[in-house]
Symmetry: D2
Subunit: 266 residues, 4 copies
């Protein structure tokens, strides 16, 4: 069923550790950070989306083949336990992104295995958690992700994330943030990888109520809509041979050398 | 010693399997494909570069820490044996690129572990090895990589590589090729990752004398020059904390939670 | 009324000279080329769009302030009479694009005054009208403009447009074409200027029935949808002064010097 | 004579009005702002460049055909008198950029006729001249324009320039600035137009000694080097017809229709 004629299937993934371990985080996010993110998406997308959640401590982190196969857009928040995410699950999510699933990576998700794998860089940055004010400025007013939010969005208290942010140059730079300490950050970036679209958005932290901020919630909902799959069916880019004059029937690859020498490819 | 005041250290890496296993390849490339690539770079860069070679069957594939530490630009040709390249060596090369070493990836190197890791995508394409003529058109005449070559470069016989080439949108698209069968390919692309510059150039194949083509050699030499490190010293982007008002003294990261809960990051 | 809740207002602008002067063009396009383009958009967008046409020989070329003010997306086809388009009308269209109106520029519209003004370059290319076959390859499968069309789109007979196409590097490269003569062309390109989105699509010519081609029509309809305004109201970017701490109330500009010396700006 | 074997011919263009009209500007810049900019370039490029100046009040603003023909890179500072720059001179500079001459546009030059013409947008921004501190952060450490300067560059007092800056998305975003008031600005941007390279760099103002700042001077010198022409000879992109199979001999264009109907192009 094409996405346009049914609700978008959105899965909000949350690490859900700070909420269990730290009282002040639990107080700010009684339904978990994933609960707040889910509520923000539901409040904006309404009946056009079905939003579920999954967390680290579920079997396979709640990201089984079956769950991912029916997910149109996945949002990702992780921080303290990136290292606990199973590599096999990361491979699975990676393949689904290249097949067309949208991915919205939030805040400290910059250092998640899945984002690092998709970017190919260290994804490091400078940081400080000291109640900086963050201002989020729109630098691409034609982008649908900016709809309905002012420029700047004012976030009274936030962790500082600053440049140099070691990512590939984004396909589209949507937001740039400043912090009261004077740092800047490319806080809203889009990337296209394989058949999938990726939106990275940095506002959001366990120590501050950023996922209750109405404009932050609007941006995340916009990002989810934007990242919806473009293809009507999942398709992984594949290496195939094509005969001269036949543009549509690719052949399975048989290897670079004859069978006994074979090690590789085309 | 800054690169500008000494010769550029270039390392031409070749898989060197087809040359050993296939008579017709040995005939076309009596010094190996890496030998031809090296000669092309030397003929254009002269005394401004020192060019060495390394191959798969050397210990650590000839890519030890010591060798890589003194390499400014690495060129990479592999095909039949991508799978035999040791993952630890791939990690090492990856880190060196992010530290600033230039990387020129040639032809079937599109499916090498190092290129796939840097791109984050499948790097697949369509192909056919049937004596297509390739025309390489310049689409960015301001780019130094295009210096001294006509548009188009005519390559009488080549393997066809066609779209969809599953790479991130390049930072700069320099060349687009057509093939006599009608396919097109983004054949000259630049990417920046971490502190390193990457140039992918698709012309070149074991079955055809493409690395003896004067314009192909010129482009590769131009690419090597362009990919030279920008920083005077190698530096891996690193996650660091900065106090308010101190922009230059980053602190080592101590973890996201107190010691007993610690699993991750910022 | 926000665009999402009412039909998109689309205006198809046609030069309409070849159709009057050349019998074979009239035979191919009995309703004019603009008529064929309009029909293609209507057949795909249905009730979600209201499509009108305007032509060069109407007063103000059919592009009055009133007409443009209610246009969401304008498509532009011109060729033989670019020079007859009134500069004041070009200024008006230019301002509307910067305010947010979408613009879809077709084929020989590459040399229209409005496209050249928006690009800032010569917009020249190489060409030949000799019945080349054109193949239009998708290089960005995540882009909504590619929906529902095969890769490649095969156009049996077309004018050749080849590189170097003197445009700024597009924000998104969507299609690359090859021609039977061996030339290549960046045939589908997006650009963002001010608050407006621009899609250039090269297939289409007066001498061939390209605007009756089902896939070409689909791409143009997709392009119109994509170019719809993002802002809920037209807004021209304006130079304004802002007091410290007030991010939302810009002041009218009074000039760089006191009144007697005044010549310029901020 | 190819640029590499002779000094680069650099022309520093200055409006030179504030210096004549305002005592405090004359005190800060006794040799004019153009004099300070020239000194900064000379101090870094030494014998590899010959640097001249030209100003608004000279005949043809000092930008005759002869002067421009021998200029490799032009830098542009204007502010109060953009409107006085003769349109014919703007056309001449525009053509020279498309032919390959480099252009470095400084600070308030964002609203110069030449920059607006090359960008195709309004080039407007938000501003405030109130002694903000500006921090200039590197976001592309592989770019040669960033060589030798810290990140951030600290400018104690500056005019604030803030987003939204209405320019096309730059080909490369090199620097992002923050201001003490919280605004951000894409302060170092590159663009390629025709055969020419353009660098926009926003630091610099008549009211503050920014062009005496050693790091600002270094960036401008780096920008001049980067913008040097890539082609060995000036060449304006031109619309030409090519016969099938002849890729190198373009024919002069004869018009779209026969002589009596002719108005346009290909």
């Amino acid at each position: 069923m094409p996405a346009a004629t049914r609700p978008l299937n959105v899965l909000v993934w949350g690490e859900n550790r700070h909420e269990q371990l730290e009282e002040h985080v639990r107080a700010t996010y009684p339904d978990g950070m994933h609960g707040a993110i889910r509520a923000g998406i539901e409040e904006h997308l309404g009946e056009t989306a079905t939003v579920r959640t999954a967390t680290l401590d579920e079997p396979e982190h709640g990201l089984t083949e079956e769950v991912l196969a029916r997910t149109d857009v996945l949002t990702w928040w992780g921080h303290a336990a990136h290292g606990e995410v199973d590599d096999a699950v990361v491979e699975r999510v990676h393949r689904r992104v290249l097949e067309g699933m949208g991915l919205v990576v939030l805040h400290s998700g910059h250092w998640s295995k899945i984002f690092v794998k998709l970017m190919g860089t260290t994804c490091t940055l400078r940081w400080r958690s000291e109640h900086d004010r963050e201002l989020v400025w729109t630098v691409n007013p034609t982008h649908p992700i900016t709809r309905g939010v002012p420029s700047p969005i004012e976030i009274p208290e936030q962790e500082m994330y600053g440049e140099y942010f070691d990512i590939p140059a984004p396909d589209e730079l949507v937001f740039i943030s400043s912090f009261s300490g004077g740092e800047v950050f490319r806080s809203g970036c889009t990337f296209r990888r394989g058949n999938g679209k990726i939106f990275y958005f940095s506002p959001g932290d366990q120590d501050f109520p950023v996922y209750h901020h109405p404009h932050v919630r609007r941006v995340i909902a916009n990002g989810v809509e934007w990242a919806a799959p473009n293809l009507s069916e999942a398709a992984l880019p594949t290496l195939l041979r094509y005969e001269t004059g036949d543009f549509f029937t690719g052949h399975g690859y048989q290897g670079a050398l004859d069978a006994e020498h074979r090690g590789g490819q085309a």
